[in-house]
Amino acid sequence: MSIEIHNLEHTYNAGTTFSHAAIKGINLQIPDGKVTAIIGQTGSGKSTLVQHFNGLLLPTAGSLEVCGFHIQPLLKIKDVKKLRKEVGLVFQFPEYQLFEETIEKDIAFGPKNFGASEQEAQDLVKKILPVVGLDESYLERSPFELSGGQKRRIAIAGILVLNPKVLVLDEPTAGLDPQGAKEMMTLFMNLNKKENKTVILVTHDMEHVMKYCDHVIVMDHGKVLHEADVKEFFQKPEWLLSIGINPPSIVRLKCMLIEKGFEIPDSILDEESLLECIKGQVIQHV
């Protein structure tokens, strides 16, 4: 297990009149080498939770074990930089963190902070650009003249270049067009499959959860409401609707078909097997 969370609590501005409990006691284990989705409504504590993973926030109570680092209240993490190199955190709308004159310098900023020499950093940048689907012609351009989607790729490259073991992504596809979102997700899946990186994805998009993730954690009002394997998770659409989650289109289609009298086993969750299943029943009827 690369991340273990024990009774984690976090209260903002504890002890003042503005105090606000964002996380109220969470126990979780996030599996290594898998893609885990964290879902939940706005304000359910998802972003607060992920900021504990690389030590940006310290818990108010409870503790975490992240990649061999022990994080607990009031204790300054030894070598917090090393932790941040292990756990790469990509924030919402990361394109707002770009600041350098050229793309090369901006991506190299991270490695240099972690002690890489100029030459090493440049080599790393050259290696990472194709990973995010850009070529070397971008190196000398200004990050600010790119489109929104490209800017985001650069910003994500700025984290990937650190080669973290765990990649935490806070709504990485927000504001991207469907094509761009798909490419972005494919990029993360490749990192997961080829380099065996643990990916933690905060998202609102159930289609992505179903298509790309292995494990789902549902958060609600600072607590874990449910934790399940993706395959099981979408088998009870009524329950999903009851907690305010709109199931993916294929699950909705399945529900409609069942209502019309088709018999579809719970385990079917992809288009092809669904098609196969209906086909059989239609032919029988005719």
Binding site: T16, L56, N113
Partner: protein
């Protein structure tokens, strides 16, 4: 940092909260002028009583008023030390080699402390009992007569309210960018001077870019709604003076006259 509120308005139900922002601004100005009239200890005691009375009416806690002084503490101490050391008139009280403190120095310094104290309390009462937007509305109304000489009162009030509106947003944005850069290994606390400069740069550049972005978007949004600074407009909130306001204005003018009188008589 996220709970930082400009002037920290304290929502409460008091007579001072209910007053018209225009009269509150004028009363503040009258009190400020009174403070700067050299009317000696008697004058300061009069003003002190008046301020304490207003503080009591506003239902703000004394603790709150004193807390607002914290940021000024350093400046006050600095001024005190300089004053005590520089003024060399009156009777020498302490003589110790080249080091000496004179009576005038002490008196002068005390006056300065009292003045600063009064000023901070007055402005704190004003900002704690008046919502920022009401305050700008008050400023706009007060500057209205100046529009006759082409003074852009409305535009200035609009600028102030936009600036006030975006302070919390910018603070939030700063926090976000700081976190994002920390994830890229920026360490704002440690490191050499060059590294620190770089760290600050990595914070300021994105902040400016997003601020300009926001300004652009806001301008477009305002234009899309047909905003015209020179148009005649009506207000949802209409300021109305009550008897309370007149009492406040009359009593603070009286205080000013009293102070002038004391100054000339004594």
């Amino acid at each position: 940092m996220s709970n930082f509120a400009l002037g920290s308005y304290m929502p409460m139900d008091s007579v001072v909260h209910k007053m018209d922002p225009r009269s509150k601004i004028i009363i503040m100005l009258l009190l400020m002028i009174s403070i700067f009239i050299p009317s000696g200890i008697t004058g300061y005691i009069c003003i002190g009583i008046f301020i304490c009375f207003v503080l009591f009416l506003s239902k703000l806690s004394i603790k709150y008023a004193f807390r607002s002084m914290k940021p000024m503490l350093f400046m006050m101490i600095f001024l005190l030390v300089i004053n005590v050391l520089v003024i060399k008139t009156g009777i020498p009280w302490i003589q110790w080699g080249w080091f000496s403190i004179y009576s005038d120095a002490i008196y002068q310094t005390l006056y300065i402390v009292v003045r600063l104290l009064y000023m901070i309390i007055i402005t704190t009462i004003l900002t704690a009992t008046t919502k920022p937007l009401d305050l700008t509305l008050g400023i706009e109304k007060l500057l209205k007569p100046l529009e006759k000489i082409k003074f852009p009162a409305h535009i200035i009030a609009m600028m102030i309210s936009i600036a006030l509106r975006f302070i919390p947003t910018l603070i939030e944005e700063t926090q976000r960018i700081m976190n994002a850069q920390a994830s890229r290994g920026v360490d704002l606390d440690n490191g050499s001077l060059k590294e620190k400069l770089m760290a600050i740069l990595s914070l300021i550049v994105p902040l400016f870019i997003s601020a300009f972005d926001r300004a652009d978007q806001l301008a477009n949004a305002m234009e899309a709604r047909g905003y015209n600074p020179n148009a005649q407009r009506t207000r949802y909130k209409v300021l109305k003076m009550s008897s309370l306001d007149y009492i406040g204005l009359i009593s603070s003018s009286f205080l000013l006259i009293l102070n002038i009188a004391i100054c000339f008589v004594l």
